[in-house]
Amino acid sequence: MKKTNIKTIAVDGLITSNPTFKLVLGTCPTLALTTLAINGIGMGLAVTFVLICSNLLVSLLRKVIPNQVRIPAFVLIIATFVTVVRLVLDKFMPSLYSALGLYLPLIVVNCIILARAESFASKNCVLYSMADGLFTGLGFTFALTVMGAFRELLSSGAIFGVKLWDFEIAFFSSSAGAFFTFAIFIALFSYIESVVKKQKKIKDYAELVKLKEQSAFVGTTEAK
C-alpha cells in the first residue's frame, strides 16, 4: 500500500485520480456549467470549500459516527456547508449565484464529495483529510476551468469574458459540444499521462541496468 503523505495526496488529487478526467465523477456540473470559464472557476471553488470543510468534520467525527448511518450523516454535514456557500454567494456574488443556479444545491449529492468522505476522510487523520479535500477540489477546479475556457473560446470567441475575436462556433455551447469537449480532454489527459509514465519507466529501467552492471562488476572483481 502507498504511504500517505501530503505529496502523494497532492499528486493523487490533481493528476493520478483527478476527479473529472480520471475518475469521471461529478459529470453533471462538468457538462452543464462549462459554457463559460468563470462558471467553471466558481463551481470549482465552491466545491473545494465544501470538500475541505466536510472532510474536516467527517474526519473529526469518524470515530463517533456509527457505520450503519454514515451516509446520512455525511450528507447532513455536506448539506450544512452547501447552505453556507449558497447564502454567501447569494449575498456577495448574485450574478455567479444565478449562473450556477440549480447546480449549487446539487453539490449536496455531488459524488466527488461523497466519495472523498467515504473513501478517504472516514479513514484518515484530520490534516490529511483537509489536504485531500483541497487538492481534489483544486483538481476539479482546474478541469472545469480548462474545459470552460476551451468552450468559451470556441463558442463566443472570448476568454473569461474578454472578447478576442469575432468568430463563433455555436456547436461548442450546446450540450453535444459539452460531451465532445469532455471526451477530447479525457483523451488528451490520458495521452499526456501515458507519455510521462513511459518516460519514467525508461528512466527507471536505465537506472536498473546501470545498477546491475555495477553489481556484476563488483561481483566479478570479488571473485577474482
Binding site: 468568430f167 463563433e168 462556433i169 455555436a170 456547436f171
Partner: protein, 332 residues
C-alpha cells in the same frame, strides 16, 4: 507433389468484381455533378467556390489525419478512395450560398476527422459523415444565417416566394400559420424561383444523378423511392387526407438529396433486403412526423437517428444461411 503445381489453391473471394470502393465513390461523385451544375447556374460562382472549398478541406483533413497517425505520403495516396470527395461534395451541396466561406471548412473537417477517421476510416463509420457535417454547420453557424437566398432564375409560373422563407418553412407552418407554397409543383421540381441550398433546389438534377447510379448498378432505386413516398403519404395522413400536400411535401426541402444520396450510403444501411425495406419505411415515417411536430426541416436529423439504429436492425434481421434450419427445442 506434381498435382500441387496444377491445382491452384486460393482463399475466398474467388469472383472478382470491378466494383471497388474507389470506382463506386468516383461514380457517386459523377452522379452529384448535375446537382452541382444546376446549383452553379442558379446561384452563381459563389456556389462553385463553396463546394470546391468543402471538397478540398475534406480531402486535406483526411490526408492530415493519416499523416499524423504516421503514414507515409505515397501510402496515403495509394489508399485514397474518393469517399472524402463524396462527403465534401454532399456537405457543399447542402448549404446555402450565403454561408460564410469557413462554414464548409469546419463542417468537412469535423465530418472527416471525428465521424469517419476516428471510427477507423471508410466503411467503419457508424453514421454518415456528410449528415453530421451538415448538422454541425447547421447548429454552429445558425446565428450567422438568417435566410436562404433565392436563385437567379425566376419561377415558371410567374409567382414569387417571400424572400425570407423557403417553401418548406411555409408548408410546415414555421411562423405558426400553415401557408401553402406560392409556387407551382413544376417550380418546386425544377427549383426555379425557389430559395434553398445549392444542391437541393433542383430535384431534376438529383433524379438524373440517381438514375445514373441505378443504371451503373450502385444504387437500388427502390429504397429511396420507398422513403420519399412513405414520407409524402404520412404527411398526407397527418394533414387529414388532403392529397394536395403530397407533391409539395416531397418536392420541397432536402428530402430528395437526403433520400437518394445520404440515406442510401452503403455503410450506414442494413445488410439484407427486408431490413432495408423496414429501414426506409421507418425513415419516411420519422421524417414526416418530425417535420410536422417541430416545424423544421429534419431530413438530416431523421437520417442520423436511423443510422444509429442500423446495428440493432442488423442484429435481429439477418440473412438465413443456405441449408439452415431452426434447431428444435429440446424436449425435457
Amino acid at each position: 507433389m506434381a498435382n500441387s503445381d496444377i491445382l491452384l489453391f486460393s482463399s475466398s473471394p474467388h469472383v472478382k468484381s470491378p466494383k471497388t470502393t474507389k470506382w463506386i465513390m468516383l461514380n457517386v461523385c459523377i452522379a452529384l455533378l448535375p446537382s452541382l451544375i444546376f446549383g452553379i447556374i442558379y446561384f452563381g460562382l459563389k456556389a462553385l467556390l463553396l463546394v470546391a472549398v468543402s471538397v478540398l478541406s475534406a480531402v486535406v483533413s483526411e490526408f492530415i489525419y493519416l499523416f499524423i497517425t504516421g503514414k507515409k505520403f505515397d501510402e496515403i495516396v495509394k489508399q485514397f478512395d474518393y469517399s472524402s470527395c463524396v462527403t465534401g461534395l454532399l456537405i457543399g451541396l447542402t448549404i446555402g450560398t450565403n454561408y460564410p466561406i469557413y462554414a464548409p471548412i469546419f463542417g468537412s473537417a469535423f465530418a472527416i476527422i471525428v465521424v469517419k477517421m476516428l471510427f477507423g476510416g471508410t466503411g467503419k463509420n457508424i453514421v454518415n459523415p456528410a449528415i453530421v457535417g451538415r448538422i454541425f454547420i447547421f447548429i454552429s453557424f445558425q446565428t450567422v444565417i438568417t435566410a436562404y437566398l433565392s436563385p437567379n432564375i425566376a419561377s415558371i409560373s410567374g409567382k414569387t416566394l417571400d424572400t425570407s422563407a423557403t417553401a418548406l418553412a411555409g408548408l410546415l407552418g414555421q411562423d405558426g400559420v400553415q401557408i401553402f407554397p406560392n409556387l407551382s409543383n413544376w417550380d418546386l421540381f425544377l427549383g426555379t424561383g425557389l430559395s434553398g441550398c445549392i444542391g437541393e433546389t433542383c430535384k431534376l438534377a438529383i433524379l438524373i444523378g440517381a438514375v445514373y447510379l441505378a443504371c451503373v448498378g450502385i444504387l437500388n432505386i427502390l429504397y429511396p423511392i420507398i422513403y420519399v413516398i412513405v414520407c409524402g403519404l404520412f404527411t398526407v395522413l397527418l394533414n387529414g387526407f388532403d392529397f394536395a400536400f403530397f407533391l409539395p411535401s416531397i418536392l420541397s426541402g432536402g428530402l430528395m438529396i437526403g433520400a437518394f444520396f445520404m440515406a442510401t450510403d452503403y455503410v450506414t444501411t442494413p445488410n439484407t433486403k427486408i431490413a432495408n425495406y423496414i429501414y426506409f419505411f421507418i425513415l419516411g415515417l420519422l421524417t414526416a412526423g418530425l417535420r410536422q411536430a417541430t416545424h423544421m426541416e429534419v431530413v438530416s436529423f431523421a437520417i442520423l437517428l436511423m443510422n444509429l439504429t442500423v446495428p440493432i436492425i442488423d442484429k435481429f434481421i439477418y440473412h438465413r444461411p443456405f441449408g439452415y434450419y431452426k434447431p428444435k427445442k429440446e424436449a425435457k
